[in-house]
């Protein structure tokens, strides 16, 4: 999967698991980070899903603080 495909797959996974508004971007010099936009109260749920997101080909899962 390329970075875009990985992001779409991660978003689908998050949407199916109770995070309907989640958005994912690939960040890092090797696009190895899944940068996720979710509300702060959903971070625990995001952390629980981190292994599944990494299984899509990301090395790290992070909350995007940029916006």
């Amino acid at each position: 999967m390329n970075a875009n495909e990985k992001c779409r797959a991660a978003e689908a996974l998050l949407h199916e698991n109770g995070l309907p508004g989640a958005r994912v971007r690939a960040e890092g010099h090797a696009e190895e980070i899944a940068a996720v936009n979710v509300p702060p109260e959903s971070v625990a749920k995001l952390a629980a899903l981190a292994p599944a997101i990494k299984a899509l080909g990301f090395r790290y899962v992070a909350l995007d603080l940029s916006e």
Binding site: P40, V43, A47, D64
Partner: protein, 363 residues
């Protein structure tokens, strides 16, 4: 029980003919680069290993009457882990500390690689206690990858505990093999440090150069340890089987302010392998971490991913990081990161080693 390098006379050299207790069999030259030593109780030699039977001073610090040194060209780190682990599990903290004192006594004089971290401060303090300040020199290798906050701690501890201390400029960043940031980057950095430190120790007449590697380090991916072995650097904390937890507890008992200090590896460890280590990136990481420290966070890392910063915060501080997300973002953008990310899994040691396809890419 365990040693990285002995100086005892060799009685016989031979090849191990079968597993179990090493035997001195067919004589042959050794030509070793690395070896590990053990007493008879703990070693399981493999057929083909080269063994040296030694007597004398090595037996003193190894705590055995007779010592068999076994040399290996490969798997030495695995074997060392087995040995240290066996000793650490079967001994008390007091016994491991006594072993450390015995090892240091055997040195006579020592030059300690001194970063100002938990391990090296403890080691330097014990060396001064055991040998006296006139037989110890703590040396800090300084370069762009060495954080200023660590230097302040190194200075403070040296002053407070009477540890003779000097700084030594290192220039690993001028080595393109280091700057390219391969998975064995630490090997080139430590090679630079140990080449200069062993030269200084020889010039000043110190018998041994030692570092603060501990028994836990033997289980981690540490290409820098290979440079230490090549330069004959001793690791008495590891050799005594002292773990990080042991060293923190002993540091507390010795009244060292470093006892609960978070681990503080060099700034280059924040840059993922394959992304070049440059003075500008190191400075950016240092400024970012200083800003986060000023917000009251204690255990964290800022990982440099090019235009993005990925913050790892200890799980206990994660709720506060979430509450201060806006401030964290603002501070890190102010030091030049376009994107600011908070890792949801939090701080963990060696995070940049995660997912490496080949962990043992050594020269």
């Amino acid at each position: 029980m365990v040693s990285g390098q002995g100086t005892a006379p060799v009685e016989r050299t031979g090849r191990v003919l079968r597993g179990g207790e090493p035997e001195a069999g067919e004589l042959r030259s050794t030509g070793r680069l690395y070896y590990i030593s053990c007493n008879r109780r703990s070693w399981r030699a493999r057929p083909g290993d080269t063994a040296r039977l030694v007597r004398g001073p090595a037996a003193g610090y190894l705590g055995a009457v007779r010592t068999v040194c076994v040399e290996r060209q490969r798997d030495e780190s695995e074997s060392m882990r087995d040995l240290i682990g066996a000793w650490a599990r079967g001994s008390s903290l007091e016994e491991r500390y006594e072993r450390l004192v015995e090892l240091i006594e055997g040195y006579g004089s020592v030059c300690v690689g001194y970063s100002g971290g938990v391990d090296s401060v403890f080691l330097a303090k014990v060396c001064v206690d055991v040998l006296g300040a006139d037989r110890v020199l703590a040396v800090t290798g300084r370069s762009a990858s060495y954080p200023a906050v660590q230097w302040e701690m190194a200075l403070e501890c040296a002053r407070r505990f009477g540890i003779p201390h000097e700084e030594l400029e290192t220039e690993e960043q001028l080595d393109p093999r280091y700057a390219a940031n391969p998975t064995n980057r630490c090997y080139y950095c430590k090679s630079e440090l140990w080449s200069k430190l062993t030269a200084l120790a020889a010039e000043r007449g110190y018998a041994v150069v030692a570092d603060g590697s501990n028994a836990d380090d033997a289980a981690d991916f540490r290409p820098g340890a290979r440079a230490g072995a090549e330069w004959g650097i001793r690791s008495p904390l590891a050799e005594a089987g002292l773990t990080k937890a042991d060293i923190r507890e002993l540091s507390r008992r010795h009244g060292l302010p470093t006892w609960d200090q978070p681990a503080a590896p060099c700034l280059a460890s924040r840059i993922p392998y394959g992304l070049a280590v440059t003075p500008a990136r190191l400075q950016q990481v240092e400024r970012a971490e200083n800003a986060i420290r000023a917000l009251g966070f204690r255990e964290f890392r800022v990982r440099h991913h090019g235009v993005a910063a990925r913050i790892e915060v200890a799980p206990s501080e994660q709720p506060r990081a979430l509450a201060m997300a806006r401030e964290l973002g603002r501070e890190l953008r102010s030091v030049g990161f376009e994107r600011v990310l908070l890792d949801v899994e939090g701080y963990r040691r060696g995070a940049l080693n995660e997912g490496l396809p080949v962990l043992a890419a050594l020269p």
